[in-house]
Subunit: 118 residues, 4 copies
Amino acid sequence: MATATQAISKEMQQCIEECLNCYSICEQTVQHCLELGGKHAEPQHIRTLQDCAEICRASADFMLRNSPFHGRTCAVCAEVCRACERECRRMGDDEMMQQCADACKRCAESCERMAKMA
Amino acid sequence: MATATQAISKEMQQCIEECLNCYSICEQTVQHCLELGGKHAEPQHIRTLQDCAEICRASADFMLRNSPFHGRTCAVCAEVCRACERECRRMGDDEMMQQCADACKRCAESCERMAKMA
Amino acid sequence: MATATQAISKEMQQCIEECLNCYSICEQTVQHCLELGGKHAEPQHIRTLQDCAEICRASADFMLRNSPFHGRTCAVCAEVCRACERECRRMGDDEMMQQCADACKRCAESCERMAKMA
Amino acid sequence: MATATQAISKEMQQCIEECLNCYSICEQTVQHCLELGGKHAEPQHIRTLQDCAEICRASADFMLRNSPFHGRTCAVCAEVCRACERECRRMGDDEMMQQCADACKRCAESCERMAKMA
């Protein structure tokens, strides 16, 4: 992703990228899980993926505006990403779940750093 | 707004409505302020309205899913709404700013209740 | 929903309301259908509901800005709403599916009018 | 951006990336233009950037679900991107406007291909 404004720090650029990446994978994983069915289609599992996609998108949006509230959205984003990572690890057996869990983990770590710095 | 699931409490229904209402007014107020120009078009003022619109939309989304994280998004939403209310009161002289400030206040109060109950 | 700008016509206000209402019901219906399981949790059914929620949200957003492109987003919104209505009628037996189908129908009709007027 | 499902073609992956990139740049350009002020802060210019950001986000969302309606959202996205490119070229004198125009152009071309293939 290109970020053109000087106002946005290197670290924030990285976090925006992680958020949009995590959003993208969660959104795809929802479809993947619905196709697998069974435990993968449990309401709680799908909802956590949807929550994660939505807060990642919102959090990226706040950072792209260099909003003074980005630390607050990043803190919530990190929390939801951690929950989504756990959810995906719990499913365990599937390559896509692994990828999604890893994306959530990276995004959570990046958002935690942003929240601390804010 | 119609909310059909029993899962969603009366209080939550009310909060979803306040969030979507506040989102709608903030989104319109951005255009209104750009047309007025001058202090109304200051980057910080427009950004606060955009932040408020985005977090209201995200917060409503979490409640519509009856997400266990809705208390967390509502807490951030309340904080941004309070800032947006202050911003709009600071502009003061305009009927639409008044309306926007009032919508932000109602949404903040509703979100604070949801955050406390969660 | 309150719409404060004079720029937004009565008919457009109505359409914004239908879009946000349809978005809200589709978003809730996803959770409802996942809980019901079986045919209600089929990937295609859930995806149509998600598509409908997303385009309703985007379409409302264009109208709130009184964008010259709102006729284009409304046209796509109407098409997706019609598909979602069909999907919900196909499920048939459930009160919430009925409500969702009715909301989609009203939103489609309103968006069709907006698209024609634009 | 990582796309993990096989369901999503190479060409679609590329288009998702262009949409999220264009969304990111438009969102930042809004802030940049508000800071520049003058003609850059004209309501029509800011609104076009907002329209472009919103439809890019929605269009990416449809593709991430591999929705059968993605051709329809991509067609509208291409149209809005072309208008936003023109808007940014019209401002002309600024490096960030150039970058934004280029991102809009690439996204429009990619979306036009997707719309034709659908």
